[in-house]
């Protein structure tokens, strides 16, 4: 029952503190909205390209909705024009050779230009190829016509001669040649996306990880500071002057802040699903479960590190040390492409497992069995820190 008393008190205190409540529930929505627009507008960017003396076929081929072409005179110098008109790139043709000068202050713009250029050049090649085959086809058709008349004449001659057998053997190869020629080389491309769809954005893939991060960050901070306050105001000592068990205090805290973390996750997930129409393949319940476990880890970790802080400000100092590095290993940057030793480091961060599990469920539709290992490791983290907390409280009361 003492656990319930602590649980109720945590809830009541939290509900009284409207600002913290707002931070926990509204701040994630604000950040999500911001990120949604940031990532989505980036797909509409247009890179400006200057062209000088470039063949019209090439210009036509390069053109797409992501680039805007401006024509310059043949004398224009690339460097000057790029600077003057803030062009992403400048393309100049000399004797059939294209020289491209990139501004490259925005790598994403350079990428757009490279894409357009590459796409354009392939288009030209394909067109040339098609034209060549077309010409070939015509020539062959003409040949075939000649052959046909030839055959007809021969047949006529054969009929006249009465030797039918020889005639039949001669027609067969000609016919087969004709069927081969009939097939037009009209390749069309159909794309299949393994995960997500053609309009999957950064946002879709990052969202589940972001959700996990929000839960982790806010719960870590709020629970850590809350226990810190309990320590500095003396209420923790006062609590331990009652028959409460040390484990009961920690459990009460886990329940109280766990509930808030759960509500936070439900709000952010619902928001993302309904307002932004995010593609979420896997089960929402699994997402909630992972986030809840992450919250428990954040909670026990926050409480643990708060014992090494003497003020709220010192608690804040743990953010760059303990929270920010976790973002790097949460899956926002692909961990399997990192250096070996970095991959090893990734394994000591709870958010690595959380991010992995969230990504697997949200974008690959993995079920419970697929993420059981990650869930288990998260649970181990939570248990480890909880034990450390319970033992650590011995400082305030020896039993």
């Amino acid at each position: 029952m003492r656990v319930i008393a602590i649980f109720k008190r945590v809830l009541r205190e939290m509900l009284r503190d409207k600002r913290t409540l707002a931070l926990m529930f509204i701040a994630p929505l604000f950040i999500l909205t911001l990120m949604f627009f940031l990532f989505n507008t980036s797909s509409d960017t247009v890179a400006k390209i200057g062209v000088s003396n470039v063949d019209t076929t090439v210009v036509k081929a390069i053109k797409n909705k992501h680039v805007k072409l401006t024509h310059y005179s043949a004398q224009a110098t690339a460097k000057a024009k790029v600077r003057e008109d803030n062009l992403a790139a400048f393309i100049k043709q000399k004797n059939g050779k294209l020289t491209v000068t990139y501004q490259n202050s925005q790598p994403s713009d350079s990428a757009l230009v490279r894409q357009a250029l590459q796409g354009g050049l392939t288009k030209i090649k394909v067109q040339a190829l098609a034209a060549a085959t077309q010409a070939q086809k015509k020539a062959l058709q003409q040949q075939a016509k000649v052959l046909k008349t030839l055959v007809a004449q021969q047949q006529k001659m054969a009929a006249a001669q009465g030797a039918t057998g020889a005639g039949a053997t001669q027609t067969a190869p000609v016919q087969s040649q004709q069927t081969k020629l009939k097939a037009p080389t009209n390749y069309s491309v159909t794309s299949h996306y393994l995960y997500g769809s053609s309009d999957s954005t950064f946002f879709d893939t990052f969202l589940p990880i972001l959700l996990g991060f929000f839960v982790f960050f806010f719960v870590f901070l709020i629970s850590g500071i809350s226990l810190l306050n309990e320590r500095t105001t003396g209420t923790l000592t006062r609590l331990l002057a009652t028959p409460i068990r040390r484990g009961e205090i920690i459990t009460g805290y886990l329940m109280g802040y766990g509930l808030f973390a759960l509500i936070q996750t439900v709000i952010t997930v619902t928001f993302a699903l309904t307002v932004f129409q995010i593609h979420m393949i896997g089960s929402v319940w699994l997402i909630l479960l992972i986030n809840f476990l992450l919250a428990l880890v954040a909670l026990s970790m926050g409480i643990f590190v708060s014992t090494f802080a003497n003020s709220e400000f010192q608690m804040m100092q743990f953010i760059p040390i303990l929270v920010i590095p976790q973002v790097f290993f949460s899956g926002l940057i692909p961990v399997d492409q990192m250096a070996n030793w970095l991959q090893w480091i990734a394994h000591i961060f709870p958010l690595y497992y959380g991010g992995n599990a969230l990504m697997n469920v949200a974008t690959r539709g993995v079920g419970f069995d697929g993420i059981a290992l990650e869930l288990g490791i998260l649970a181990l983290f939570a248990i480890l820190f909880t034990i450390l907390n319970v033992v650590g409280m011995k400082r305030y009361r020896r039993v």
Binding site: A5, A241, T242
Partner: protein
Amino acid sequence: MMVANTIEVRDVAKKFGDNPVLKQISLQLPVGQIMGLIGPSGAGKTTLVKSILGMEKVDAGTTTVLGTAMPNRKIMQRIGYMAQSDALYENLTARENIRFFAELMSVPKSQLSTAIDHVAQVVNLTDALDRRVSAYSGGMKRRLSLAIALVQDPELLILDEPTVGIDPELRQQIWAELYQLKAQGKSVLVTTHVMDEAERCDYLMLIREGIALAQGTPQQLEQEYDVKTIEQVFLKAGRLQDESHSDL
């Protein structure tokens, strides 16, 4: 089980780093008595109190409370403790604070509201019970802390500087309550550095620099030091201690 002494401290010593805070302190509080721990700030009163509660690890000696060796978690239920600093939840109302600690002390649900009303009345906070603690004055917070210490009707009260910041009238009221508790057979250990309060205790113990300088009833002490008030006992004892220091 009936025990003669509610608190029994034997040869307790405690160091913070190299700094000795308590040196060989022994103390007995008989059942149904009020004992005062007096001494200047930094004398080790709070450390002694915390050692008795089992919240401070002692380097040597033993403490027994209500016949049980400390530290002991369950015995906490029979002790009402008021800390030196007000440990209250500022975002909650006074009623919620009392209720929370009452729940931790396993006060039965059916008795909760009567218990809360009773202790609020004792410390004269009935009208302010539903106000948030953050709006309380220093004296009100002290009174609320005392109310919390009383809520489970404990056999032993340990009060660390209970009357700091409380006006004389209310102080009278609080002492009246302590006497009433004593009449019910309850024991009280109170630390103070207000000398007129010391005179009201049944037993006194003088602590200075971690050493128990003198113990006894106020009258005994006054006779022993051949002075008229406890304040003078205190000053004289301090002087003698300093002299013996300089002899060494």
